[in-house]
Symmetry: C2
Subunit: 210 residues, 2 copies
């Protein structure tokens, strides 16, 4: 689909058709398309917990302000940002380094430099660790919303949940922040698609302080 059409088509949808399932192959394709998003040092600190079973979605809805779309959407993803994805020994970091050596873009002798650079850029404070995880995972999540639109799927990124209650309910380890829940499905069509909301213009966005 043309990107301009995707920009128009992607709207946060409140009403999903509970009768229309998302084929697993389509979900996997959307996730792998989205995973082509960039990330710092290619560390890809993103994961998802995909929920399809009603029992699971009921558990999530109970800690997500009882939002009907949590159970109505055929798939809800708990999106996870791995704030420790820059640490030496992390499986993704190690695999990434191996793959870079294989591709010739990094030399085995640079291993310690690589560990050091990741730690220095992302590991020095709680703020830098959280920003690392959340920024890169938001790149992935934004890409996923576009990738879904490209495949004819609708989405809704949700902030309305109790962060620590979701963590407890799904036993999510402390290294993860939960930047959003993402409902995925098909618009129910019972109402019109929501109209585009007001957006800031270029002159609202561009600033200068010095």
């Amino acid at each position: 689909m043309d990107f301009k059409d995707i920009l128009t088509r992607r709207r946060a949808i409140n009403f999903f058709d509970p009768q229309r399932d998302v084929p697993q192959t389509l979900l996997e394709q959307a996730v792998e398309d989205a995973a082509r998003a960039p990330s710092g040092f290619n560390l890809q600190p993103w994961n998802v917990i995909p929920l399809r079973e009603l029992d699971d979605k009921v558990r999530l809805r109970a800690v997500a302000m009882n939002q009907p779309k949590v159970t109505e959407a055929p798939v809800v993803l708990i999106v996870l940002a791995d704030c420790k994805g820059w640490e030496k020994g992390h499986p993704t970091l190690e695999r990434n380094f191996e793959e870079m050596v294989k591709a010739g873009s990094m030399k085995e002798a640079q291993r310690n430099w690589f560990y050091g650079a990741c730690g220095k850029l992302y590991g020095t404070s709680r703020d830098t660790q959280l920003a690392f995880g959340v920024k890169n995972t938001a790149f992935f999540a934004m890409s996923l919303m576009y990738a879904c639109a490209n495949l004819g799927l609708d989405t809704h990124p949700m902030d309305g949940f109790d962060h620590e209650a979701v963590r407890r309910e799904f036993r999510i380890p402390d290294n993860f922040w939960i930047p959003l829940l993402l409902a995925v499905g098909y618009f129910s069509g019972e109402d019109d698609r929501p109209a585009p909301k007001w957006r800031k213009s270029y002159t609202d966005i561009a600033v200068r302080f010095d």
Copy 2:
């Protein structure tokens, strides 16, 4: 451009053609296309400081690990995440509320509820404030990379900078986090476009802990 082509075309480019400028109208179009990204409560907590003048780019390069692309790219954006964009009185929040009332999606009587909900979701801790700013701004920044690709522009998202030194040099207020610098221009073509890097597969990304 088809989204599939954009996914292939968007690569972090190291070598920009310093002779080929980015027309201001094209930059503004890319920014406004990108600003169609979603955000929590439509708060759009993103700003950019666009740098075009060599003097400014030299100042930035000095606090960005002396990366040549900072001065070679015709435009470098300092991307800013407003971690206080959820606060009552913030101009964007107030404008957004007015626009929702105008559009009929919110009633004037819901004003205090709206302030309260924004504060409760985003304002309760340093972590929630930082995650709010960074997540939504990363949605915008990711969209901007795709919007640029759609318009034939190349980009490079950069983490290699001294966060506090950039803040001081450009007098960036404390309410902002700086998630990335974004170089924008045209690939120099002196080398091949970088090959796609290894990415995690669906089975690497999907997890479950309970």
